[in-house]
C-alpha cells in the first residue's frame, strides 16, 4: 500500500516537472536534476527490493538510512547549485545596471552638447 503511495508521489513529481518544462516554466538545466530524482523514486517505489539489496551491498544497516543520506546529498547539491546560479545572475544584473547607468549618462549629455554647439550632427569626442 505504502509502495503504491510512493509510486504515485514519484509519478506526480515527474509529471509536474515534465509539465513545467513543456510550458517553459522551468529550464532544462534545473529540470534535469529533478527528473533524475523523480525517476529514481519511481524505480525504487516499483522495486522496493532494490533498496534492500543496495543497502546490504554497501554495508549500511537500515535501508531508510541509505535513503536519507542520498536525499540529503541530493538536496545539498540542489542548494549549492541554486546559490551558484543566483551569484551568476547577480553578477549579470550588476553589469546591466552599470551599462544602463552609463548609457543614460551619455544620452542625457547629448542634447546638452547639441544645444551648446548648435550643431546636432556632431557627436561628443570619443567613440
Amino acid at each position: 500500500m505504502l509502495n503504491i503511495a510512493a509510486f504515485i508521489l514519484a509519478l506526480a513529481i515527474v509529471g509536474v516537472v515534465f509539465e513545467m518544462l513543456r510550458r517553459k516554466k522551468l529550464r532544462e538545466k534545473y529540470a534535469a536534476l529533478w527528473l533524475f530524482v523523480g525517476i529514481g523514486t519511481l524505480v525504487l517505489a516499483a522495486f522496493p527490493r532494490l533498496l534492500t539489496i543496495v543497502t546490504e551491498f554497501s554495508g549500511v544497516q537500515l535501508p531508510s538510512n541509505l535513503l536519507f543520506i542520498i536525499s540529503i546529498l541530493l538536496l545539498l547539491g540542489v542548494c549549492l547549485h541554486l546559490s551558484w546560479e543566483i551569484s551568476v545572475v547577480e553578477d549579470e544584473t550588476r553589469t546591466l545596471a552599470e551599462e544602463v547607468a552609463i548609457l543614460r549618462a551619455l544620452i542625457e549629455a547629448l542634447p546638452a552638447a547639441e544645444n551648446a554647439e548648435g550643431n546636432p550632427t556632431k557627436s561628443p569626442g570619443s567613440q
Partner: protein, 252 residues
C-alpha cells in the same frame, strides 16, 4: 566644447545618500582649476544626491539600485574607459579628501600604475584605534610585501589609476565588501601593476559620523582577512598592455 579626454582627469566619486556633502565636494574639486571632470556615481541614493551633484557641475551616473562602492567604482572605470580618459582618481563624496591633494596623488602615476593617497604616512592627524587599527596594519604589511614597496594605508579610498590599471580593474573589480580596496589592489599587484603611495592629510567628514564600535571593528578585521585570503588565491588578470611596453609579456 568637448576636448580630448585623454589629457583630462576623471574624478570618480561614489556616493550613496551623501546629499549633505556631495554638492560642496564637487564644487571644491572643480574650483581647484585643473582639467578635472567629476563623475558622481549615484549608488541608488534615496535622497537628492544625484540632483545636487548635477547642479554642482558633475556628470552623474545613476545606478538603478545600490551596488556598493565596488560596483559604483567599476561603473566609473567603465565610463572612464569608454570616454577615453587615461587617468582617473577616486575621491570620497563626504569631503574627507582634500581636492588640493589630487594633483599630488596623480603625480604618483608618473612611475606607477596605481597611486594611493595614504592617511597614516607621517602627514595629518588621522587616527584609528583597536582592532580596526590592527587590521589596517596587518593588511598594509601583507600588501606591502606583495607590492615590494612600503604601503601604510591600503584601505584608503583616495586612489588614482592609469590606463593599465583601469583595464586591470575592469577585468577584476569585485562588488563584495572590501572588494573595492583590498581585493582589487591585491589582484592588481599580482597581475603586475606597480603601486605607490603619496602621503596626504585627511579632513573630518562634512556629513555623517565615523564608527568607533569595537564589535564592528572586530567584524571588519575578520572580513578583511577573509577578503585578503580570497584575493591571494585568485587568478591573475591577463590583459594586453597598450602602446609603450608591448615587448614584455602583457600582464596587468
Amino acid at each position: 566644447m568637448k576636448t580630448d579626454t585623454s589629457a583630462r582627469v576623471l574624478v570618480i566619486m561614489p556616493a550613496w545618500n551623501e546629499a549633505e556633502s556631495v554638492g560642496n565636494t564637487v564644487r571644491e574639486v572643480l574650483s581647484v582649476g585643473m582639467p578635472y571632470d567629476v563623475l558622481v556615481v549615484n549608488d541608488g541614493s534615496k535622497d537628492g544626491t544625484a540632483a545636487l551633484a548635477a547642479a554642482a557641475g558633475a556628470t552623474v551616473l545613476n545606478l538603478p539600485f545600490n551596488l556598493g562602492v565596488g560596483g559604483a567604482m567599476r561603473a566609473g572605470f567603465k565610463y572612464a574607459q569608454r570616454r577615453g580618459y587615461s587617468r582617473v582618481i577616486q575621491v570620497d563624496a563626504d569631503g574627507q579628501h582634500d581636492p588640493r591633494n589630487i594633483e599630488e596623488v596623480l603625480s604618483g602615476l608618473e612611475y606607477a600604475d596605481i597611486s594611493i593617497g595614504a592617511r597614516f604616512a607621517d602627514r595629518g592627524d588621522y587616527e584609528v584605534k583597536g582592532p580596526r587599527k590592527w587590521a589596517m596594519q596587518f593588511l598594509a604589511r601583507v600588501i606591502s610585501g606583495l607590492a615590494k614597496t612600503r604601503l601604510t594605508d591600503v584601505t584608503s579610498g583616495f586612489r588614482a589609476a592609469n590606463e593599465r590599471a583601469i583595464n586591470q580593474y575592469l577585468d577584476h573589480y569585485p562588488a563584495e565588501y572590501l572588494g573595492d580596496t583590498i581585493d582589487s589592489l591585491v589582484v592588481a599587484v599580482r597581475s603586475g601593476c606597480k603601486v605607490t603611495q603619496i602621503p596626504v592629510a585627511m579632513r573630518p567628514r562634512q556629513g555623517g559620523t565615523p564608527s568607533h564600535d569595537p564589535v564592528k571593528a572586530a567584524i571588519y578585521l575578520g572580513r578583511s582577512v577573509f577578503a585578503l585570503l580570497f584575493a591571494l588565491t585568485r587568478k591573475r588578470s591577463l590583459l594586453q598592455t597598450s602602446d609603450k611596453t608591448s615587448q614584455e609579456p602583457a600582464t596587468c
